[in-house]
Symmetry: C2
Subunit: 157 residues, 2 copies
DNA sequence: CTGCTTGCAAATAGTTTGCACGTTC
DNA sequence: GAACGTGCAAACTATTTGCAAGCAG
């Protein structure tokens, strides 16, 4: 968890013959130390703390480069922006569509499904590339107990 | 499949005390006869064939209304726009992140996972609200055979 | 020095919203 | 005719891109 992953990430770039620019270094540094998944915009803000000159467009382009190199991955959590994380950090996302709460679930959650899809559909599922949408315990309970309902989404989300 | 679902959809609106406007009628008619899931924009185009006056903004607002009423649902297929379908049409989406190809998979695919999530996380998963991202057979095979690689995404997607 | 990277600004895609007018019940 | 729905234009969010200048190797 608290391990220092930055050096090996930089190494990965070097080994690939990729350039080690200030922007890439700064972005990887932020990602290596982040304990949540951040959107491109959030990453941009974090990077700007130490390096205000780095433009959001560069963040997007760098993320795309790192994705192509297999170093970072992104997930679409539903409505909002995509969130990014290091590729070696494998897991599922459970996101509550009512309150937006996100938890991580073990990566092997879909082991069985993965097999079925491969066999029946020839489909190679990328489990950690999408979010599992639903309702968290709290929202489910509130939903049941609720009388009038002050939320946007009355009962069925 | 080819069943006439429109009347009962209109009834559902009436029963709820909702107004039966031209736009709602037209949109539901398109959705009842569509055999694919369409984005708001595509729906707008289809509706415009018989009713050019209906504005895209109205499509969005009507879709939101119908969603609130539990009549339609939408799914985020990854990058592009959300796609909409009638709520009684329950299934999973397998979407290839390389070629964009989409197939439907049976709704009970996740039965086991659903139980696990409920038990271990108190999480009530909405299986048909998200897409399962991965690679279809064709892209997987091409990816393996490819020598030079003319795609945006060399090997790992 | 040569080409990949970046900054900036502007374009783009998807969706939402304020407001005045029109339609449904 | 009152309340709700709609058209239009404009705002907004997330992301991409052309171009000229900058920096890594």
């Amino acid at each position: 968890m608290g391990k220092e992953r930055l050096p090996e990430l930089l190494d990965a770039l070097r080994r690939r013959g990729e350039r080690l620019t200030t922007a890439r270094h700064a972005l990887l540094s932020v990602m290596a130390h982040a304990d949540e998944h951040l959107s491109a915009d959030q990453l941009s803000v974090e990077v700007a703390r130490t390096n205000p000159a780095i433009h959001r467009a560069t963040i997007y382009r760098t993320l795309e480069t790192l994705r192509r190199l297999g170093i970072v991955e992104h997930t679409h959590l539903g409505h909002g922006p995509a969130v990014y994380h290091l590729a070696d950090d494998v897991h599922q996302h459970l996101v509550c569509e009512e309150c937006g709460w996100v938890v991580e679930a073990p990566a092997d959650l879909f082991a069985g499904v993965e097999e079925t899809l491969e066999r029946d559909f020839g489909f190679d599922m990328r489990a950690n590339h999408f979010a599992i949408v639903g309702r968290c315990r709290r929202c489910a309970e509130e939903g049941t107990e609720r009388v009038a309902g002050d939320r946007r989404t009355p009962t069925q989300a």
